[in-house]
Amino acid sequence: MILSNSPALAPLSLLLAAILIPMVAFRRRWLAFPLALSAAAFATGISVVNLVRVLGEGTIHYHFGGWIPPIGIEYVLDPLSAFVTLVINTISLLVLVHARRSVDAELPDRAMPYYAVVMLMLTGFNGIVLTGDFFNLYVFLEISSLALYGMIAVGNKKSPVAAFRYLIMGTVGGSFYLLGVGFVYMTTGSLNMADVARIAPTLYHQPALVAALALMVTGLGIKMAIFPLHGWLPDAYTYAPSASSALIAPVGAKVGVYAIIRVVFYVFGVDFVRHSLPLTEILAWLGAIAIIYGSIMAIAQREMKRMLAYSSVAQIGYIGLGIGLANPYGIIGAVLHVMNHALMKACLFLVAGNYRLKLGHSTIPRLDHRVRKRMPWTTAAFTVGALSMVGVPPTVGFFSKWYLALGTIQNGRWLFLAALLISSLLNAIYFFRILEKVYMKPLEGETPADNDITRNEAPVSMLTPTLILGTALIVIGLLNAVIVTGIIRLIVPPGM
């Protein structure tokens, strides 16, 4: 029974936890966290099962209510969706373990609704990734967006303003997507993605269908914060509580990326996209601009979370560039970077959370070498994360950039290759700035204080996920070849 229903079980178990938490934990507050954690663990386990099943059996379809696709709603479990759900659930599980202490510290009296909202956000993400129906995607997009607004708004004084601006942008994005669905439905007469994928080639060059594609990509682009539409992102990530930004930043934008890959390459198809609209070209250019812009803005920041937020803009640019190249290496690079960036960002945001808890701030100019003595393990994890963001070989960051670079070479786009290389340089600047502060002693003064420094490392529940992620950056980096040949090669869309 579990096996035959396994494609739907990950979002459903998370949803069940979200429903049960307000009922069970309304009086007994302490129950909220164990419920949420067990649901996330179960979802992770189910995602592993799903991935194994997909690799063995091929694509699996799950029909809700027993209705076949154009009539009912279906979940599609193919290598891409199985892989992305696994990444999302694993990383969220790790971050959730870490989140407990910072939720206790920052939002003591709101823990119960907070965990429920986190579960709802994860439900939304899983639903978006798994669904094979355009309108169902919209519904789950809105679930996750609403949960995100709430999670951002509970932070400090400024966070409701950031959340409100995000809400306005996000509603425009969601509505654009819905409008695009309307155009698709009116021209093809179907809401099922596989069905539309078969009908669309018979309707080439219809302005309505091209408008549908443009509207959908714009709407999802707002949610994913592609370069000119990224305005909501830095404030939202900065003013959110540490737990929220660590949960949102690694996986939030990735879901939008996934939806764009799904819509552009699997539904409309490469040929349609290339011939009807220079969409891939636009995406590639925007990605390249975002890489440079985000890196430069990151250099200018003083607050670590805001720096990481701008670096997220740049990293999303890498993924956009990979999609825009529209060749196998580009797609491999983009999908690989979805995973790698999620790992790196989770690690770095957890480090920022640890600093916030123990030092009371995460402002870059106030960090110095005493931090390394007080929190050696956290700082080690930060070092690995920073090296990975720069793209030093054994870490994961190198490999996704490698595939993206191969993609640019295959298309002969030297300008994009230059953008990749320059951005590595810029990344190095803004991360080595911190590493220098943490590892070098200042030249004059303050030496007597060195002896007073006592170890004051973050608690175990926060340190363990940080270290697991830090190790994973290297281990998965070494295993990247296996992942690419085993899973991601299967993802390259047809007709490419």
């Binding site: 029974m1 229903n5 069940l16 429903i19 009922m23 809700f64 027993g66």
Partner: protein
């Protein structure tokens, strides 16, 4: 609105109208199979009736009708009814939300009909409770700046 002295006429009229709105709302929920309407519309109407009493009597008196602490658990219960109907179908061997697998009646079609009714009741409960709780929270939350 909390410290509001109720006007006897307004209070009388709203107290008289409110039960009728609720009755109509129940009709809307249970007659959704044959005419326009259903759980969402009916639930919103019940919420409107409750909010009407809150507006006229002041929120503190109206707590006797529907306490503000019920909102969140009752709303979750409504969603749980929906979810549980779907999950029961899984345990009876069907797909999620396959009401025919519930075997509520002899014919699959009648079983589906009852399944839809169950689901609509869940929707109505959830919508009522949550809309009232949103109203309460907007009105009373963070009362003093």
């Amino acid at each position: 609105m909390k410290t509001h002295r109720s006007n006897p006429i307004v209070s009388l009229v709203s107290r008289m109208v409110s039960p009728f709105i609720m009755m109509f709302a129940l009709y809307v929920i249970f007659h959704g199979h044959y005419s326009p309407g259903g759980g969402f519309q009916g639930g919103t109407l019940i919420a409107a009736a409750i909010i009407l009493v809150r507006l006229s009597e002041g929120s503190d008196t109206a707590q006797l009708q529907f306490s503000r602490s019920w909102g969140t658990p009752l709303g979750s219960l409504g969603v749980l009814i929906y979810f549980g109907t779907g999950l029961a179908a899984v345990f009876m061997g069907g797909r999620f939300l396959d009401y025919a697998a519930l075997h509520l009646a002899h014919h699959a079609s009648m079983s589906r009909s009852y399944g839809i009714l169950l689901v609509e009741i869940g929707v109505g409960l959830a919508v009522t409770a949550i809309l009232v709780s949103i109203y309460d929270n907007l009105l009373e939350g963070e009362a003093d700046a």
